[in-house]
Symmetry: C2
């Protein structure tokens, strides 16, 4: 029996409810594939602020580093919203763990489950065949550059009066661009062989460096992969105009944040999309959606993105491709059988097919 | 007879073709409303680089400053694409004139013409009633912050070797946020009374300052306007999910660039959308689309966004609301009569209703 250690970060909002279903599925996979999963719970985000005043306690980092993979649910909520630069914020936990574990590659697959094709606000013929992988750089750029706010700067206020001024810094080094570009090209080789590199090279110096390095890596080692450059504003359009044309999309951190959510929404079922954050050590897996504080504690949240993040964990961290395929098949079957959580039901869903969080987890396990 | 001086900046690609139609319409309006328009042509963008090595010659700025309004077509093209930080780029002309004329408010109306409702890749019931105004801050943020590229920095290269590093700076002062917030609230009062302020306050210090100032202005002077905050990634989703819910959307420069193009694409007819850039002096009007180098010189480009930018000029710079309404009515009638340029035709358009650039301009003039 192989044993893998998994650090569980339930976080905030619906986090504890959905992560329980992820664990349920892991246990079922473990039994089927003679693998043992050992879990350590740790605090992150708002829950960690409430308990320790720190969105990312040292104990959490220790637990994550001692694990083979990290399963995160979601962080954040209005309770901890603030514009006070000095106050701790839940998101610092998420950003902190990405940085501390060196998780520079964020993979966000965007696919449509046939049973949910009607959920999209886009026309069916436009979303038909959508299958892209967004590769987002996750430890650089505006998220981690120097930032500051100054008070009482002369002329920063209205009519030349003193006032506040703030800045954030978008910074990239060659090695950061090169390693994420390599990831994108490697992934494209296992897919349809096309990479769209997104930047704003007509304005930003970091984008011009980005474009230069991406092309250098391409020409030297990946000339077999098709490479196109697309400006970020044009990409925001083309994702709506011809989403099925995209295969691998690689971009810097902030553009990736915006475009991956836009691409996710194109499917119409954000509750179905998982993500993987990879680095050189333990990787982190989480749903693409947030902590949904409005429905927290009611047992109605959709656990499928969390379950599909377990799928990605098996695939990328444990080399258990067969078990991963199994999960995907089980989820597909449950959907094909008509089962829905509230967020993915529609006018045609019979009332007795609408289930809660735990029941949806049970259904997936039954189909495994 | 009132006389207005207009500076014409044809720029690159389809620019010269479409601006001619804008002038045609201005002349027709002048005749009808007993107003004289005097034109001065000036160089900008790639055309200016070719002629003077400078994307924004001093003579162009002088001509713009001596005018009551500026009509721009489009700049840029692959001919001038470069990642060399030292080379002149067409976009510098556009960014330069925005900064030099102090055009800090960019207005991008997003509306659907009934005759073109089918052009959207979104479902008809989703785009029905879409009518928003994107208010983009245009002279601050990443576009105008300090940027640099360093060569041979130790450890910026792969495996700790020397390499390149680049940065851009996202900076905002209180007064810049306050003035654009006021614009948004004023505009909302003349519309449906709702402002969505978009930021990334869970990560960026500039966004936290943004949110603080927007709320201060709101609470002090515009408490009658409904105000909501939306994170930029969530906005990228909601624009696709429920576009008709948005009234006024206000945001910083880079987010505005991305979201306004996304919103424009939702209509499916980018060739129909105009924009106004306002400051304290002469304002600038231009189509939302680009220079379309692939179809330049063939007389087939859609001039309607350029013509609708003339509509905005009449409305905002010359107080000629009635003439502006006239243009909008004329364009609507031409579309309702079935006339189309290549970009807005569909499978049902009869071949004899597909017209070129000049003919489309003539049709609008006939309907004035
Ligand atoms: C919560 C937030 C800081 C985070 C981000 O912006 O990266 C989230 O939106 C995401 O995409 O994972
Ligand atoms: C051409 C480019 C510099 C410009 C911008 O990014 O502002 C354009 O995309 C726009 O939106 O007007």
């Amino acid at each position: 029996t192989t044993t893998y250690k998994i650090c569980l970060l339930a976080g905030d909002g619906i986090g504890p409810e959905i992560i329980a279903e992820g664990v349920k599925v892991l246990n079922a996979v473990g039994a089927k594939y003679d693998t043992a999963f050992e879990y350590t719970d740790a605090l992150i985000g708002g829950a960690a602020i409430d308990a320790t005043d720190n969105p990312l306690p040292e104990a959490t980092l220790d637990a994550a580093r001692a694990s083979d993979a990290v399963l995160l649910a979601a962080v954040g909520g209005p309770k901890w919203d603030t514009t006070d630069p000095a106050a701790p914020r839940p998101e610092q936990g998420l950003l902190g763990i990405r940085k501390e574990l060196g998780l520079y590659t964020n993979l966000r697959p965007v696919q449509i489950f046939n049973a949910l094709a009607d959920a999209s606000t886009l026309r069916p013929e436009i979303v038909d065949g959508v299958d892209m992988m967004i590769v987002r750089e996750l430890t650089g750029g505006l998220y981690f550059g120097r930032r500051e706010r100054f008070y009482d700067e002369p002329a920063a206020g209205v009519n030349g009066a003193p006032g506040q001024r703030a800045y954030d810094t978008l910074e990239y080094s060659e090695y950061e661009i090169e390693r994420i570009a390599r990831q994108a090209f490697e992934i494209a080789r296992k897919r349809r062989g096309k990479v769209t590199s997104v930047d704003k090279a007509n304005v930003l110096e970091t984008s011009r460096l980005w474009r230069e390095i991406v092309h250098r890596v391409h020409d030297a080692d990946y000339a077999d992969v098709e490479l196109e450059d697309l400006l970020v504003d044009n990409t925001a359009m083309q994702l709506i105009n011809r989403p099925a044309d995209f295969d691998v999309v690689v971009t810097e951190n902030m553009f990736g944040d915006i475009l991956s959510d836009e691409a996710a929404q194109i499917t119409g079922s954000l509750g179905m999309l998982a993500s993987a954050s990879l680095g050189d050590g333990a990787a982190l897996y989480e749903p693409s959606h947030g902590s949904a504080p409005d429905i927290a504690g009611r047992g109605i949240a959709n656990p499928l993105a969390q379950i599909l993040s377990v799928e990605m964990m098996l695939r990328y961290s444990f080399g258990m491709g067969e078990a991963a395929d199994d999960i995907r098949r089980a989820v597909t079957e449950v959907l094909d059988a008509g089962w829905r959580t509230g967020d993915i039901k529609d006018a045609e869903t019979p009332a007795d097919k609408v289930v809660g969080t735990a029941k949806m987890g049970d259904l997936v396990v039954e189909h495994l």
